[in-house]
Symmetry: C2
């Protein structure tokens, strides 16, 4: 396979010139450009990201920082991100921030020292947000507001929350509960919280009782979800609709079945995220789907653009959620 060096030799120019032709950046005489182009075609040279990265002596490493890679949402996100990063010539480093000892700070340092090319930051930091605000380096946030300098990829949580509320309303709910995730020590500023406000507002407009219960977020501990679900059915025996995320929704479904509550007749259930988990539950849980693979793809493309020096001001990418009807609501 021809390399960039082969092309340079063949065209009798320096490697830097070939690189300028490939990237389209910097001045190259038209005649030289044509000669390089001809050599590229003759040698059947395929410039790829990997070669470009090696040539520019970048580390070729992008870190994906998530609370907990075992959590199904983040597992799917990291999986998809790794795939796209691989296609783009980057290797993926991961960092879980959920645990007491973690590398978030170190990764920022590595980025500053250029030992890492970029960071995709998936929700919730253990650091002070000011640490991010003043960095002008390739960082992209997933579902988190890290200030004006840092582009953010998320779904439109406003529509997402409204979709969930409307599906429970169509199903005839009069007394609903939603679970709102919080991190114990400090509040997480994430656009995803908007869905809870919209959900509650939509319910109240219809005169429907709506309670918001705060739960730990996101814990890898399934026994916690089971405990909370059991308590929900004890403390709120009249609840007829629940809005949760996947792990909690699975636990609520299990608790309802243990308590011989009929789903959806006695209890309607709608989940947010819609990871693969939900498709294996019985009955199938109605879900507001986040397009996780597309979120990952957008995040990777943004971080690669930043690495390539493109300037991105105030960029917010918002994808749409989709309602996937299951057997735990009766929307139509």
């Amino acid at each position: 396979m021809a390399t960039i060096q082969d092309v340079a030799k063949h065209a009798q120019v320096g490697v830097g010139t070939v690189s300028r032709v490939l990237s389209g950046k910097g001045y190259v005489k038209e005649e030289t450009r044509q000669r390089v182009q001809a050599s590229i075609e003759t040698l059947n040279y395929t410039p790829n990201e990997m070669a470009r990265n090696l040539f520019f002596r970048k580390s070729g490493i992008v870190a994906v920082i998530v609370p907990d890679v075992a959590h199904p949402f983040f597992a799917q996100f990291v999986n998809a991100a790794e795939m796209v990063l691989c296609e783009q010539g980057y290797q993926t480093m991961i960092c879980n921030t959920y645990y007491e000892q973690n590398y978030e700070q170190r990764y920022l340092e590595m980025l500053k020292q250029r030992r890492m090319d970029g960071i995709i930051f998936g929700a919730h930091t253990v650091l002070d947000i000011s640490q991010y605000e003043n960095i002008h380096l390739p960082i992209v946030a997933l579902d988190r507001d890290l200030g004006e300098n840092i582009p953010c990829v998320s779904v439109n949580h406003k529509t997402g929350g409204k979709m969930a509320a409307e599906e429970l309303i169509r199903s005839g709910c009069r007394n609903v509960v939603q679970f709102v995730g919080i991190k114990e020590e400090k509040e997480v500023s994430t656009p995803s919280n908007v869905r809870h406000d919209v959900f509650e507002e939509t319910m109240k407009q219809q005169g429907i009782r709506c309670q918001s219960l705060h739960v730990k977020w996101p814990t890898p501990d399934t026994s916690y979800y089971r405990k909370v679900s059991a308590k929900l059915l004890e403390d709120y025996p009249d609840v007829d609709g629940v809005f949760a995320t996947d792990l909690m929704a699975m636990a609520v479904l299990q608790a309802a079945q243990l308590h011989r509550k009929r789903v959806p007749e006695d209890l309607k259930l709608i989940t947010y995220d819609g990871t693969y988990l939900i498709e294996l539950a019985y009955p199938r849980i109605t879900a507001i789907i986040q397009p996780i693979d597309r979120l990952a793809k957008e995040a990777v493309h943004l971080v690669v653009d930043l690495i390539h020096g493109k300037s991105i001001q105030n960029k917010k990418i918002e994808l749409q959620t989709v309602l996937r009807p299951g057997d735990t609501t009766m929307g139509d």
Copy 2:
């Protein structure tokens, strides 16, 4: 916080001497050793793995290679490995081999060039196994036979398979099916396959009908599991016991419920792996648990030992599986 340099200065020795005292490797005069020790205590210096790695100018990176990090078993494994690697001062790179384009080859090259300190290799390679056999570098396999040079961490799958068979026998099964995962292109040589032989053998010894159905392994595609499960109940209407792994077991449970088969009365079900998924199913699925966190811990400790130059010959670490009774068998 005191650094290794501070200690060296205080004890009036070179950094190399402090390092030799810390690692216990190489010769240091007894008098010097005592002086260094005193300086370490005076300055309250805590030698940690991270400092050691930085000092030895290692990359500090360990790669964890898995088929698919979205798969619950591998998600939990990678999560646990990242946590222990972080404690040990290493950063975690990940590589999914399931996809057509992947970095397995490149990671091996990076290891050879010392741009990476070690690799934890989680089952199934897309490369020829000979690529691994001749490498004398820090590689540890999870559940995979990569030749004599490469230590392997796994559970005792023989006992695991026997446990599963005996639980279904105790539950009164007469006609069982087990799902055996294969990779389409080539057979994977993994010690985990032993469980299927033992399962079948144990069944046949008792005169119980046992069929082994081959399925793709491990696909992130849940619709595949649902299709296979539906077909199972059509093709084998008399099956009264199923042995599967978590995703397939969830799908079989769902299919049974859709077909109004009573579990466990009409159909008994036992799963292998026992990831968090299983705890959220209803009814709770009886499981042969692999201690995933401990597998990760052992793999990390082995790879760190290898990085530190310890020689490990023919090392196989086998942990024990545990039967966690659920409501899908009637073992007692």
